[in-house]
Symmetry: D2
């Protein structure tokens, strides 16, 4: 059974900071947001977690394997190198949406995102070492069938983009409402979802729903492990199996070998 | 009248590269994508253009003010510092969607995004210096009314995110279909659109449409200038006017002073 | 007694790469070198090690606390994100110079730095967990007395720089020849040395030597711990003690508290 | 005749910032310093200038081609994205050391580097467009003969490093005292000097001096142009000529073609 540890990463007082004393150059804000996300991706990723850019001022991370000390260090390092600081809320639950509920809640109770006095909250429960298991994290990696042939090489880029967005919007809502799974667009034609234990037929139903609602055809590889990196890596390999076998849902066969 | 110069930025052969010889760690791909975008934001932004991350392997830039030499230098600099290369297609038209059509077309005609032999296309027309005017670029900067109070401080982050996404998906489709305007989510609760000449009532209609279709309330500041930075900066100031006056559509009053 | 684990980080085939097929823009090489170093500083630093930029194509890291798996992950992550790859040689010895000898040797035996076939060597012994002790790493943090008053606010920047360089060149040679200690300029007027167990009078002798040979007055804070971060942090605090007490050699009093 | 425009880049109040309220993690400071330098290298480099990391809190840039507006934009962009700000002093003179004297002087007169009230000085004269000429900037690019064979593949890295440093220290002092030329180690076994008009025999004398004083054998390629990038690029090509012809001093033959 899944047991997802999620961390909400929220930049403190960001809205006001971006316009005080005057609005800042937009491309500088884009640069700061992207590089902050990249640093989180490296810190969390090298500890076998995943981070999703989400809204950039609010980001969601799968942090099974990161303890409170890791979160403290991350907060300290960002404060040393950026003109902004981060609040971190951590939550654990068998269902990802509930875990995020908890993570968001501990930050909200400490104060508003725009409370200029609320800085560097670090709160919530991590999953204890002894309670961890190989079934804790399920990751589903979706991509669009033949996106390059159908869209990228044929439509102008914005119309391709609209298609991908419609597919994403449909999948994100369906998986959230039906299962409490959280889905994130990660570039290209790829969407990664953090799910509870879902079956092949539940994935097929999600794919059918998206095709019906948005006209976009997806396929998916699914992996499970004690952390996001290993689960996601298994999911990527399973997605390659879809490509080679011409199938639309594949589960990784075996746990990853030690060096994956 | 607007006269938009858009550049399509496409990473060459990216899909195959990410899985050859084996799939790569997802957080390393996220880091590479974000830092590449950040570098583009700095290069284009310091020349008064805008870049939008879009799908990360395909990005859209408003490049009024950047000539062919600038595009060549950007391509060379990225090739010197990254394990991937870029193809750049440039297009100009009074309507942004048509400009992007042209930009995409010159890249597509050179070869598929996954043609492993197609590398570093640089093609298309730039807007000549002598044809530039203060009315060339119209930028509309939307944000969600009281996003912090209604969503960020109340819902869990994913449900806030779903709301923002639904609002974005609705706005992007409406503005594209009605006007050929291109809209991009840029973080937080902000959406920036590159538009043809639109009127206050056309913006009000777009805002009404989004409220009706997605239940999300937007407001917008609009600016016009010879380049994206100045138009966008004026739009940001106009958005501050919305905040102070309690209005939902504001146009920047005067051209920016020389030091903005 | 100190027991230093050092890693030599060497970019594979870099000299030829920088001029093939043609020389590359110098500022792009500077950017790549600096950002690669910064990524190493984050990866190693967040695991409580230190990295010194040294010659940028060859860098020296104090890696007590990093195992072989950490080194593999670092190599993989850099290969995923940069147009170059790294070879890593690890060595352990009670004397830093000997440890670096070992680290360099395992890389040299695998092939020349400009052997275009030699890629991603990963070789050498790490210090086993069970053999680690709080006395393993001694760090000495030197700075120039009143650099701002004597130099920065009075001379032109290059003449200030020449003074700092002469002081550095003198200290690096003295500590290496006398003790096998390795010294690195880290910016401003700061030099950090990785030393074997040295006494206060040995540090005073080094400071006298540099004053006599180069006319530059140094002071030093010294710390010892099981890893470079904690030893170096204690050394920084000891240096603050020098500032407050007007002394020129201070040792950190006690082991760091858990939250340093 | 050369006419060098140099900019001194100084981080405001950096010493105090690094220890307030407490000393900061050294690897975070190294990361911030390196990434700040990398951003300057991109901004200045894409405008055909050069930046040298020098002491990281004080950096020297060759800015022929950058006007006051460019300097203002650089300052603004850094202030938007970093937790520190920059003061910039600009100086022009036929002799580089004098130009740097002027650049440093205008910053010093505004206040101490550690005056916590002095922020974002922007002062000094730029070289007017109409006064620019192809002879304005002379760049000499030195490297060590067969560094890989003599040092990198044979000695431990620190002893190789000591050799390179001794060679650098000797060259920097000789060229500064004899000619007012400013020399900067740029990684590997490379040193770049910004010089007044020097002749082949003056370069041979410098090379002889370094061999005599430090036992390190250098060779050099020299280029001249209206800006640092073109001069330096020509110097790199001239250095390749040294390699192919077995000579130790080469001047670039002709001005660079437009697409260099």
């Amino acid at each position: 059974m899944t047991n997802t540890q999620l961390t909400l990463v929220q930049i403190d007082n960001y809205g006001p900071w971006t316009v005080t004393p005057e609005p800042r150059r937009e491309m500088d804000l884009q640069t700061l947001q992207s590089r902050l996300f990249a640093d989180l991706a490296q810190f969390v990723g090298s500890r076998d977690g995943y981070v999703f850019f989400t809204r950039f001022d609010n980001m969601v991370a799968v942090t099974n394997g990161l303890g409170r000390d890791d979160h403290e260090l991350l907060q300290e390092s960002i404060a040393n190198r950026y003109p902004v600081t981060l609040s971190l809320g951590i939550g654990v639950d068998r269902n990802p949406a509930v875990a995020l509920e908890r993570a968001t809640d501990v930050v909200q109770r400490a104060g508003s995102a725009q409370d200029h006095e609320r800085r560097e909250v670090l709160s919530g429960e991590t999953l204890p070492m002894e309670d961890r298991a190989d079934s804790d994290v399920q990751i589903a990696h979706f991509d669009v069938n033949d996106a390059t042939g159908k869209y990228t090489d044929r439509l102008n880029e914005f119309d391709t983009f609209i298609q991908i967005e419609q597919g994403y919007a449909s999948l994100m809502r369906h998986l959230r409402e039906e299962h409490g799974a959280l889905s994130f667009f990660v570039g290209g034609d790829n969407i990664i979802s953090v799910t509870p234990d879902l079956t092949a037929s539940q994935y097929r139903a999600a794919i059918d729903h998206v095709e019906g609602e948005a006209g976009v055809e997806l396929k998916v590889g699914v992996g499970t492990a004690s952390n996001a990196h290993e689960a996601g890596f298994a999911a990527k390999h399973a997605l390659e199996d879809c490509r080679h076998r011409g199938t639309i849902v594949e589960f990784a066969d075996a746990p990853l070998a030690a060096d994956d």
